[in-house]
């Protein structure tokens, strides 16, 4: 379960002054569901997810993940969340096995327990062949699998994905999407940010459209289609943010 209440984050920028990256964002994601956060580049998706993962502290408002408050209990929030982003890389000089084991230990697991879980994850993700190869020598797909295993080693209740398919080839992207669905079927709470409309259509049970730091529309795909009178996700998105002119203005601001 993720419950965000009026999450707000402001930054001080030398050139642009005070920037409100996330502006009173509230939403709820339930276990066994995928919540899609849809937005253009710079809309505030990454900042929102970093607030949920407690990498950043909210300026005001708060959020609860798996029952723990991001301000009061950030360590417990991280212990119950798996965070996977295009920006979360692997240690090149560690092997895939060492990388996953390291994060198991950081999550307080005993080595025997880690070994059992690692074996199961490697079976599921078909990783045995490259487990003892250094991460810097792995292909993009192998790296993604290692990252997935890294986020799952402590079996978190909440999964946070920040544009996980960004820059990946079709095959690797598909395997990620498949994996995200599996997380849902295992009853995990999943939040998934993207700017790819088709991924939202394929994957998400609920959608939040974020624009200029604010959540401008929220609902299931069917609800959104009904509200905006459009079938296509892209058209819905453009209408929700206030038309193409608004999108362009936001792009110029960034």
């Amino acid at each position: 379960m993720i419950e965000a209440h009026n999450l707000t984050k402001t930054f001080q920028d030398k050139k642009r002054g005070l920037i409100t990256a996330v502006d009173h964002v509230s939403f709820t994601c339930r276990p066994g569901q995928i919540y899609g956060l849809l937005g253009a580049n710079g809309a505030g998706k990454t900042t929102t997810l970093r607030l949920l993962a407690t990498l950043l502290q909210p300026t005001s408002g708060t959020a609860k993940l798996a029952g723990f408050d991001v301000i009061a209990d950030p360590d417990k929030v991280r212990a119950n969340a798996g965070f996977l982003a295009a920006s979360t890389a692997l240690y090149g000089r560690l092997t895939s096995r060492e990388m996953i084991t390291y994060f198991g230990r950081l999550n307080g697991l005993a080595d025997a327990e880690i070994a059992v879980r690692l074996k199961r994850l490697a079976d599921e993700l078909d990783m045995h062949e490259f487990l003892d190869r250094r991460c810097e020598k792995l292909s993009t797909g192998m790296k993604q699998k290692t990252s997935i295993a890294r986020t799952l080693i402590h079996d978190p209740a909440v999964m946070i994905f920040d544009e996980p398919t960004l820059g990946l080839d079709v095959m690797t992207a598909r395997s990620i999407v498949k994996f995200v669905r599996e997380c849902r079927s295992r009853g995990k709470t999943v939040i998934y940010s993207t700017h790819v409309m088709s991924e939202v259509e394929k994957l998400c049970d609920g959608v939040g459209i974020i624009h200029d730091g604010r959540l401008v529309a929220e609902g299931t795909l069917v609800q959104l289609q009904a509200r905006y009178g459009e079938q296509d996700m892209e058209e819905i998105f453009v209408k929700a943010v206030g038309g193409e002119a608004a999108l362009e203005a936001a792009a110029l601001k960034n």
Binding site: L55, D75, R78, A81, A89, G92, R93, L94, E98, L106
Partner: protein, 413 residues
Amino acid sequence: MNWNNIITVYLKELKDSLRDRRTLISMIVVPTLIMPVIMFGVGTIMSKIMKQAQAEIVSVMVLGGTDSPGVVASLKADKKFRVVPESADYKQLISDKKIRVAVDIPAGFEPALMEGETQTVPLYYYEGELKSGIGVKALQDYFAALRDRTIEARLMERGVPATVIKPFVIKRQNVAPPEKVGGNAIGGFIPYLIIILCFTGAMYPAMDLTAGEKERGTMETLLCSPVRRINIVMGKFFMVLTASLTTVLLSLVSMGVSAGIGVMYFGSSTQAQGTQQALAAKAASGGTIPLIDPAGLIGVAALVLPVAILFAAMLLAISLFAKSYKEAQSYVSPLIIVVIMPAVIGLLPGVELNAKLALVPILNLSLVCKEMLSGVWHWDYISLIFGSSCLYAVIALMFCVRMFNRESVMFRA
């Protein structure tokens, strides 16, 4: 603080660093190789140049002297000198290193000697030029000997015993034991070296573990783990400290081994010569290191620790601010000068420890090491230095932890 987590982070950083060629070079290869290179390479070249210069026959131009055939003949007969024909541009020739020295024998030199008049014999040389300096020394010795012989002859002539002009003899006696001499000779150099190695040893891993991780995107991965940031900082900090101390330790071991080998190879020959110069050369080449007070070395090690902590924490905090390895380098490189300056001031002769200087970081270490290695223990200063260094180290470490907790630093756009 959670020590389990700190150890987990530390062990991972250690493994990661030991697989990194650049860290291995800065932590292990450089300190082990730099000592033998300095001691043997530079030492051998210097002693070769000195020997060559000393062995070379001094080319002397004799100006005048036509009415003093005896002096000119004996100069020509002396195997140390090669007398070259007179020329008016002797000053230019000395400057151009064509000849080393020139001597102006005044007109009527020999006849004046007979009559007992005082004469001036100008020697021309080039100050600061090694070979010219050696040449003028040899020439001065020659004329000093001639003067002594003249005095003796004059005294004999008048039937006066030689003791008349030697009422007493001055004898200098050294009371410092050999290890203290060694401590003074190299005492300034060792802390200087330790301070620099301590800094450079920490430099690379500090940048790699912070700015390097940000650049490679692993910092965000690490921060996603439930481990508190203070534990991450401490794990990284201990790794940087390990690298710094390993560098110092390896260079000390390497210095000891090189000195041992040096004594084995060159020791006997220098002792055979038994001259003051040979002793000085031995001290400079580290030949007396085994004679240094071991308690002094322990004292140095104890005082280096807080400084190493200060360096590790400072370097971590500064390079954490950088977004990339390159940016970190541009922040850290100028710091080397800031660190070297006080270390160099400590090397200067005459700079003595006092209560004020005991509070200046790095300089205080440099000064107190010099004292401890020569067996002087000012306990009040030592405790003041240790206390203040620990305080600076703790402040730096706290600053470092603070930086890790600041999102404007960790996620600098």
